[in-house]
Symmetry: C2
Subunit: 461 residues, 2 copies
């Protein structure tokens, strides 16, 4: 996707404001290359659902396979493994950049999109997870999402592990656990009934496709459903319910996250425990997070980021297990959601017209004067006449056009056109010719050439 | 290359400041994807020197060839061709981003590096070329290069065309012109004598490799050498000399650029005419620019950017000829040059130590208080003891460490350590134990817990 103008400026502004938050929280910037060696990246392929074909790969002149990063976490793991001894521990880094997925593009789904991540590597403490949730809240607020306009939901894999153990699904039953995780992940979309089918024999969707289930019996299913429906309301209440369902050991981590969140000033509206949050990827080993935008009346506008604890990722490279936790904000998605709200089109530069190609230097000089006074300005540099130049100024969303034709030059003045006011009265008074004519007097004024800057500033003012 | 911390922050700051200049001059941002369809990019391959193999290419699932952009100009040409009717004309855009070259990497030569470009498409006027030079000057100054610390040198292809016509080399003698261009391009490195050989039969370099020359005779060579040595001193003087050598028609464009530069406030120190500037690429059709950093005593620190007029680039796509001119600042190179000058390492965040893992929430709360007051701060989230935590704070370049152990808690106070002052006196007074002990009293202070923020701010003060 090509992105330009105000939409792009909005997205860049988002990233800058989120980055400022990350910096204030003591995360330092890291930029890794777009490419990683594929064998390095391959070690981090997060999911059986996303095989090697999901990445863009090519061979370089030395026949080494390179792959474009599909997220910012795998390159971080590679970087930490490579620089472990030199890095402060814990290592706190933020990063923003494009990632690439070799998947079928579709409406709103692009093969290149931006992520903006914060991660702490080398911190096993649940306080580090809590900090990830809290910094995500601060980032979303800095991006312009009102308090109450978002919620970070979190849970931990340990809840399900405890329940599965209780109902006699062995911890080693890897594939059952995965199918259960996937079923829970669909709670949002399929509801309780759909998930129960997926926990049991399986489910046929509207198109007739059948998804094989986890094969749990009725009692087992009900235990899992109890778990995933336990999360609504204040964190303290949910913790009390979960203690009964999964046991105190399984929720110790959530209790610590809750306490840390409170210390960090994140209340129940900002972050809530929700056992339906599992995050699709296999590599999370403990806490998992997901940030959702909340519309008026509590409507869920969908996920704008997520993350969790991934204590095994760096170890795939280094042998040693290194605890890590992180949060990724989907900037493109967040920008799209916020763009709906950003109504007003920002002003373009002041445009100085050129009435006589032999006097283009005068126009350049006027634009330079305006810029020196802090006003965005440019001289028109095409070859067209006055009408086309005014159309150009409109297209650029110029608030003011500066004109100095031969008459004005002789009189030592410039004409300023207030294009915003002009557009406003044209749309409001278009029919009433007399009112239009009166109003037009304010739209176009004459100022001494020596007072160009003051006059433009007062018109912008 | 992985880039992190202050070095990366410096480069990002550069881009932000240059971008601000571009915006102030009325250029709007554009971001195109990293990939272009290879057949589109192929049409823009700028040079016989840089065949298709110079780009990273791969096939997607639909068997379409994709190539990573090797500069920001070819994607601009594709974008303009695709969106021509919707764009304001002239279309002024800036862009910053990584580009990729599939070449052997080497010391200081990477396969991925950043460019930061401004271009005006649809403006045939030399004033647009002048503006490119002027905006490059403004960008370099915003990036922190002092006036006098850089010079943008410019010329035009028309000079050489006129001289070649005078000496009887036909305009259609494409390859001769190219060999002459390449010879002139090496003036900087080989000097007058080396270039004369390349204009004549050819030149054998130190390694014994022979480069075939342009085959010009003595009189022809001397005319070209007269041209390339004509440029030193004020623009007006050089123009007078060039008028004699190449004729008034050939320098009309340079005269207009000179006048526009003066109108834009760019003096002879900021921009100079230099006929040795040809830029390697074939696609430039008129004016060419190159920005050089100038060291103390006038030493040339090398090119940090360049550009020129490329009236044929968009037409390769659209049929129609569309005049265009642009300037590209090599941000990575500029950052490397400026980094030498940026001595002081910026401060890291304030670090709140954790003396008792059961009280990590207190540390989180203190960090949150500090951040709320605008102070960068974090709590230590690893599992190590006090000594390792202080080492961590040093590694993070923390200016202050906040400590609240059991004693401090009981007394309702916090201990603040001024790590910058501590490092200073340790290096200055290391031998003088008594002075060191006295000075240490200032390094470590106790403050009531309720005055944490004020006390830290005053220590940072």
């Amino acid at each position: 996707m090509d992105r330009r103008g105000p939409g792009l400026a909005l997205e860049r502004g988002l990233i800058a404001r989120i980055a400022k938050v990350y910096e204030t929280w003591g995360f330092e910037p890291l930029e890794t290359p777009a490419f990683e060696y594929a064998d390095a990246l391959g070690k981090f392929l997060p999911d059986q659902d996303r095989p090697n074909e999901g990445v863009f790969a090519l061979q370089d002149d030395d026949d080494q396979w390179l792959a474009l990063r599909y997220d910012l976490t795998a390159p971080l793991a590679r970087f930490v493994a490579e620089n472990f001894d030199a890095l402060p521990k814990p290592y706190r880094r933020w990063a923003a950049g494009p990632v690439w997925r070799n998947e079928k593009p579709g409406p709103g789904r692009f093969r290149e999109f931006w992520q903006c991540d914060a991660d702490t590597v080398g911190a096993a403490s649940p306080a580090a997870d809590a900090e990830m949730i809290a910094v995500a809240c601060a980032g979303l607020e800095a991006a312009g999402v009102q308090r109450g306009g978002y919620q970070v939901k979190f849970s931990t894999r340990k809840l399900l592990d405890a329940v599965l153990e209780n109902i006699g699904v062995a911890a080693g039953a890897y594939s059952t656990r995965l199918v259960v995780l996937r079923a829970i992940d669909k709670f949002d979309r399929l509801g309780r009934q759909g998930v129960e089918l997926l926990l049991g024999d399986g489910r046929k969707d509207e198109s007739g496709d059948f998804t094989k289930g986890a094969g749990l019996d009725a009692k087992q299913r009900s235990a899992v459903i109890d778990l995933v429906t336990a999360g609504a309301g204040a964190r303290g209440d949910v913790l009390a319910r979960l203690a009964k369902i999964a046991g105190e050991t399984a929720i110790a981590e959530l209790r610590e996250i809750d306490a840390s969140l409170s210390a960090l000033g994140v209340d129940d509206a900002g972050a809530a425990i929700d056992p339906t949050i599992v995050r699709g990827l296999e590599y999370y080993t403990g806490a998992v997070f997901e940030a959702q935008l909340i519309g008026a009346g509590g409507a869920n506008f969908g996920s704008v980021g997520g993350g969790g604890r991934y204590d095994d990722l760096v170890s795939r490279f280094r042998g040693e297990r290194i605890p890590a936790t992180g949060f990724s904000i989907g900037v493109s998605r967040l920008a799209a959601a916020l763009q709906v709200q950003a109504a007003a089109k920002p002003d373009g530069p002041v445009v100085v017209l050129v009435m006589d190609q032999a006097r283009v230097a005068d126009a350049l000089g006027m634009a330079a004067e305006l810029r020196a006074a802090g006003v965005r300005a440019e001289a028109y540099l095409g070859g067209a006449g006055m009408k086309a130049q005014l159309k150009y100024a409109d297209k650029r969303a110029a608030p003011v056009a500066v004109i100095q034709g031969g008459d004005e030059l002789a009189k030592g003045v410039v004409t300023l056109k207030d294009l915003k006011l002009g557009a406003k009265i044209a749309s409001e008074l278009g029919e009433d010719r007399e009112a239009y004519a009166r109003a037009r007097e304010k739209v176009q004024i004459e100022a001494p050439r020596g007072q160009l800057v003051e006059a433009v500033k007062s018109m912008l003012g």
